[in-house]
């Protein structure tokens, strides 16, 4: 008797698994199609740095606190600025926290891949450029009756 | 916090009563943390007593510390108890010192099986020798590093 009960229960549980999975065929899409649709990274995300050249005094506290020594202080005319090697930066932004002049800022730019290593060295001038505007921002919503899905930020 | 260290004091008292000469030093570091320094020759007996009589049934780790200025290594067994629910939070640091030029100690694998990997790590990182260890081989540094034991203080690496 007992083996039959076990078999029936197993079959019922298999069926349950199938129905649970199949129900999700009718859910809204969850995958972000990346280059076209981007996740709306919020302000405060620790992406690459933005350097305010006018505020920076070149004191070097950022280079001192940096866990990886990815910052070198370079000379421009008679002033000194940090230069970042993004092949080593871990985006902890302790430099931003510890900057006494608030010359550093987090930006939401994260796609900074390069073909060569030396292109990953960001000079102060390059750091001072504001990040590029990216459109088509999407967020995720769990409110729908049919599970979590991605929705455009404008609709949300 | 001015909490009384009653449990900790009782443990130390029991230890000192049973091993009056072998325990060199026993202090309460802070709440539920006890340091016990023992003579290296007697560590097996004390460990057995801790395990069987006081219920410290598992190790949470073994550390080795290189005091190169005092020319000694300190081996610290961190012991905790599961069997005795009243002292689950108590952690005993069982310490012994070995001289730096002949770093030989007794392995406690036969008391706590769990210390095997930790002792192996101390062997490769500090160059210690554990007598009675079933597998005194390298654990992590096999193929990785064949210089002197890297965690010793005199081993320096190009750094900032």
């Amino acid at each position: 008797m007992a083996p039959i009960v076990g078999k029936v229960r197993g079959a019922a549980n298999s069926l349950l698994a199938y129905t649970t999975g199949l129900r999700h065929l009718f859910h809204k899409p969850y995958t972000l199609k990346f280059p076209q649709q981007r996740y709306a990274v919020e302000k405060g995300f620790r992406g690459r740095h933005l350097l305010h050249l006018d505020r920076c005094t070149g004191c070097g506290i950022c280079a001192w606190i940096c866990p990886e020594k990815c910052i070198t202080i370079v000379q421009r005319g008679d002033r000194w600025f940090p230069e970042y090697f993004y092949g080593r930066c871990c985006f902890c932004h302790f430099c931003t926290d510890y900057c006494p002049e608030f010359a550093l800022e987090e930006t939401v730019e994260y796609d900074i891949a390069e073909y060569t290593r030396d292109r990953l060295v960001w000079s102060p001038e390059r750091l001072a450029q504001p990040p590029m505007k990216k459109d088509d921002k999407y967020v995720f919503s769990v409110e729908g009756r049919r599970g979590a899905s991605q929705v455009s930020e404008l609709e949300h | 916090m001015s909490l009384s260290h009653e449990r900790e004091d009782n443990l130390i008292k029991t230890l000192k009563e049973n091993f009056p000469t072998d325990i060199k030093d026993a202090t309460v570091m802070r709440r539920s943390r006890i340091n016990v320094t023992v003579a290296p020759e007697k560590i097996l007996d004390i460990a057995l007593f801790l395990r069987d009589k006081l219920g410290f049934d598992h190790p949470t780790g073994v550390s080795a510390v290189d005091y190169n200025r005092e020319s000694r290594f300190e081996i610290v067994y961190h012991l905790a108890s599961i069997a005795n629910p009243a002292q689950r939070d108590i952690l005993i640091n069982l310490k012994e010192s070995v001289p730096r030029n002949t770093p030989k100690a007794t392995s406690l694998v036969r008391i706590w099986t769990g210390v095997e990997n930790f002792e192996r790590e101390s062997i490769e990182m500090f160059g210690l020798q554990f007598e009675g260890h079933p597998r005194p081989e390298k654990l992590f540094l096999n193929d990785n590093w064949d210089g002197p034991p890297p965690m010793r203080k005199e081993v320096r690496f190009p750094t900032d």
């Binding site: 197993g10 549980n13 298999s14 349950l16 698994a17 649970t20 969850y30 919020e42 405060g44 606190i65 940096c66 866990p67 990886e68 871990c90 902890c92 932004h93 302790f94 987090e106 995720f140 769990v142 599970g147 979590a148 | 570091m29 802070r30 539920s32 943390r33 049934d57 598992h58 190790p59 949470t60 780790g61 550390s63 510390v65 610290v76 961190h78 599961i82 069997a83 689950r88 939070d89 952690l91 640091n93 706590w112 099986t113 769990g114 210390v115 095997e116 990997n117 930790f118 990182m125 390298k138 654990l139 992590f140 540094l141 096999n142 193929d143 990785n144 890297p150 965690m151 690496f157 750094t159």
Partner: protein, 381 residues
Amino acid sequence: MTTTDKPAQESTLGSPSPDEPGAQTLTLSVGPQHSGSGHMRLIVELDGDIIINAEPDPGYVHRGIEKIIELRNIIRSIPVIERPSIIDASNLNHAWVKAIEELQGVEPPARGQYLRCLLNEMNRIMSHLYWLSIYGVFLGHTTMFMWPLGDRELFIDLAESLTGARITYSYLVPGGVRRDLPQGFAEEAIKRTEYFEKRLDEYENIFFKNPLFTSRAKGVGVLSRQRAIELGATGPTLRGSGVEADLRKDEPYAAYGELDFKVHTRPDGDSYSRVMVHVDEMRESSQLIRQILEKMPSGPVRRKAPIVVPRGEAYSRVESARGECSFYMIGEGGDKPYRARYITGSYRNMAAISAVLQGVRLADMPTSWWSIDYWPVEADR
């Protein structure tokens, strides 16, 4: 090739009588380039397809963290401390700052403690979900890979809005935390945890009751209660063997003393119980997140703490997702510790791998050892 002066039996491999048990064994090396091993190697000795002995060969990710943190000051060490288990970064970071705070005698403000617990619990869910998805890979169950990873992203979004990074937060610093709660965090978190609990019911239907899973996990890779304690196993592995040990209860730290939660155990000690302990813990953590947000006090989140390790010793223990994570720190008064011993949950559970794998069939090997929740990076440090 012809052998002239040797008897014929000796030219064949192994012993001449293959019927004898244990006479013919085969040693296999599984990993590191293997979909069932992760960043480590398992040296497996087989008799037929039964594993007689399995030795883990760690060290593929050994990065010498203990040496590195002796050479950097305590703030600069924080990202290094997190890296062994970036899927569980906050808990490891907590052990580090707890050791420093014990030495400094600094007590973070109440709100800081609650925020720490909040991130810890989110991290526990994320870590368990990641672990579950890899379990799906090892089972060959693609849905089990996709769903937990998809739901993990919901918590990653929350953590990102709180800390500013997806998984490597560097959020806990000595004296408190770096940022306060952002606008609208609580509402979104409550919505998402409620949704997640509904999802866990669905998981139950599709994975944990599924014969595909139960037949491969029940009764496989048994670790008895006595053996688990002896080997020093910790975390879900220990609780899966029926031991009710959880540092959040046994030695309440941060705000855990004021929170109400249960420690989940399963008595059997097989792969199935270890998996179910993880699932129960996720449900409990999800509930805890709502409770923390409800009880969250107001006030500052960070207290000033100097960059200094005072003279003395401290031993901090934290219940991370994979078990007890502890730091044994010796300070000398400088800005770096003299010695900081770093023992993680996976490192302690490493001893359990051989114990679990003995007597298991080779086909059950990945699912058995992964149920220990052994993350090689965390063990190697």
